[in-house]
Symmetry: C2
Subunit: 199 residues, 2 copies
């Protein structure tokens, strides 16, 4: 049996919801928001900052722009958050089977040789738009497609920065599923089946 299921996901693909349902169906803990709470306690940073900087590179985060030389001497808030998140993720994995969403968990656990079922959830733009509109209502000023593209870019940049690998590259996942084409329930069932099959 896999000890941990990691779920990486495009913004608006339903990865969070799929992960939550998988955990419920398998009767194992689900970690997404809980990680933020724990990191806030451990690091002292505000939850909002952790949510903002714990998965996304941001134009507001000047640390991504500083030179490599400077980066050797300073640790940015984002770096501190990454390190605190890593500790929490390793702690979660050590406690037993669970589902962890996002936050480079696939990479962090692979580096520690913890055998995971690594899942990537993506979807076409139409289904993502529909889901985001249902969840957050209309998004003012910036068009929704632009917002989704920006979120993708920020996650990609964040992942690249901390793992030196490409987010969404098939090599990093045991299974990648298109939740728009397959539907959320099918994704949940397939992940549970894969998890249960593994000895």
């Amino acid at each position: 049996m896999y000890p941990v299921i990691t779920i990486s996901r495009e913004f608006g693909s339903g990865g969070h919801s799929i992960g939550e349902k998988v955990a419920k169906k398998l009767g194992i803990p689900f970690y997404d928001g809980d990680i933020v709470t724990q990191v806030a306690e451990d690091s002292g940073y505000a939850k909002e900052l952790i949510e903002e900087q714990g998965e996304y590179s941001s134009s507001a985060n000047k640390w991504f722009d500083i030179s490599a030389a400077s980066a050797m001497y300073f640790q940015s808030p984002q770096d501190e958050i990454f390190i605190a998140q890593k500790k929490v993720i390793l702690k979660c994995a050590a406690e037993g089977p669970c589902v962890i969403v996002g936050r480079c968990a696939d990479y962090i656990l692979r580096k520690e040789h913890i055998h995971c079922l690594n899942v990537f959830i993506h979807s076409d733009m139409e289904h993502r738009k529909e889901r985001v509109l249902q969840r957050y209502g209309s998004i003012k000023d910036v068009g929704i497609e632009k917002r989704l593209a920006k979120k993708d870019k920020q996650r990609k940049t964040y992942y690249k920065y901390y793992t030196d690998q490409n987010w969404g590259n098939y090599r990093n996942y045991d299974v990648a599923l298109d939740s728009g084409m397959l539907g959320e329930e099918t994704c949940v069932d397939i992940i549970c089946e894969l998890y249960n099959r593994k000895e």
Copy 2:
């Protein structure tokens, strides 16, 4: 129900074998080598040339090096093979549910708005090496890893040239599976389940 299952695969990932088993289990035709035979009949080109140039760009294929201007006036053997393959693929799909392996079938059918279950099969280098050694025996002169990397590169280049898209990009597939991690039988079962679930 999906009319067609397309299987794109890394060399040595077992995609051919998985596709064959899926077709058998679902009781639908399987097209891989048969496409080559049909294209040979339609185009007059030798089977060996079609096998060599029907999925791979090759350093021996000088047509990939000619300028765009020249390409407007000349049709290379590879272009003729691509066009003949496309006709055969569309004919196969028109005849009913089936499994088609490789040859940009996912792209060709998407352009014609034929709803497919698009599958990508990949695997880690260790499992691919093992499979290729079992199938072809030892490979002289060039190391096996080099050979696999070259095959990947040739398929990528071929796909890029004819589709202007990136081979292996998750957006092009409903499901991507790591056959090395999951095992061949699990991949077969998952694909059949996805196929049967779709109305």
